[in-house]
Symmetry: C2
Subunit: 192 residues, 2 copies
Amino acid sequence: MNEHFRPVALEHASRLINHGPTVLVTSAAGGRRNVMAAAWSMPVEFTPPRIAVVIDKSTLTRELVMASGAFALCLPGAALVDFTHAVGSVSGRDGDKFERHGMAVTQGPVLGMPLIESGCAAWLECRLIPEPHTETAYDTCFAEVVAAAADTRIFANGHWLVNDDNQDLHTLHHLGGGNFARAGGVIRAKST
Amino acid sequence: MNEHFRPVALEHASRLINHGPTVLVTSAAGGRRNVMAAAWSMPVEFTPPRIAVVIDKSTLTRELVMASGAFALCLPGAALVDFTHAVGSVSGRDGDKFERHGMAVTQGPVLGMPLIESGCAAWLECRLIPEPHTETAYDTCFAEVVAAAADTRIFANGHWLVNDDNQDLHTLHHLGGGNFARAGGVIRAKST
């Protein structure tokens, strides 16, 4: 549990991944659980809040997602950069990655997915929308967001609050090869 | 034309949008052309390089993409923040947005799409892969990247070169409401 987390209204859920952060996909089914990093996700609809994420068909995560029909996206802050890279490089078939890294989990309120709050900026609990063709052809899984929450030190009242004082919670954006940009340096466009 | 642009090998094309930048979707068909901002895009495959982008069915861009079977994604640098927000707020049905903003275009080498190089970090010319169901249900268009290029001051030899000296070319990541984070502050994860 992270005392700073508060629920995010579902109509604001798409904003959590609107800016393209690398996410941690968490999953559980039949007594097993897993976490992997994924750079490829995006919202596809505001209301109802729907997202798409690419989960390779060879992964344990994909197996668990197909078994449970559910997963969560957790947004690692900059302080979790090593954890994020590590869980994107090793398979959950080689042992429980939460345990290996001593990572505490809480249980998702709607679907019971394992959620990481410590070091994360936000999470979205998602119910898979079965789309066999796109899952097979593009490893692209569509899902509806059924619950979301964020650390109020960086996202509150439906808005990101990115500043120099919360750099550890700035989202990570994978440039490749273990190099991540942080989303900082906010600029405001002129009104049109 | 931008003298700093060089072709990007297709096997590296996914890296251009791996970190979730807001993109400009450019399109042309039947003597009309358009540009709109889109926050929702992602790679879905490395080889062949394939991407997905959400293009609302009500937009002129969607009409042109369906007519030509092609579009391009241009990655605006931070210096184009006002242009990016403006072309995300106004419809191309109300007049040519390139002309209104005095934006020069070059022609895509494979599909002839209008490309923006001035102020952009990179572009990807894309051939639509018709997927009527996902286009209708999720406004999600799949496509194969057939040509790509980048400004070598920020992307060269298949790698992003983000530093304090090229901030005007840092990609934009839309937080909502005209506020954009820039992808900067690169951190390197420990090897695992």
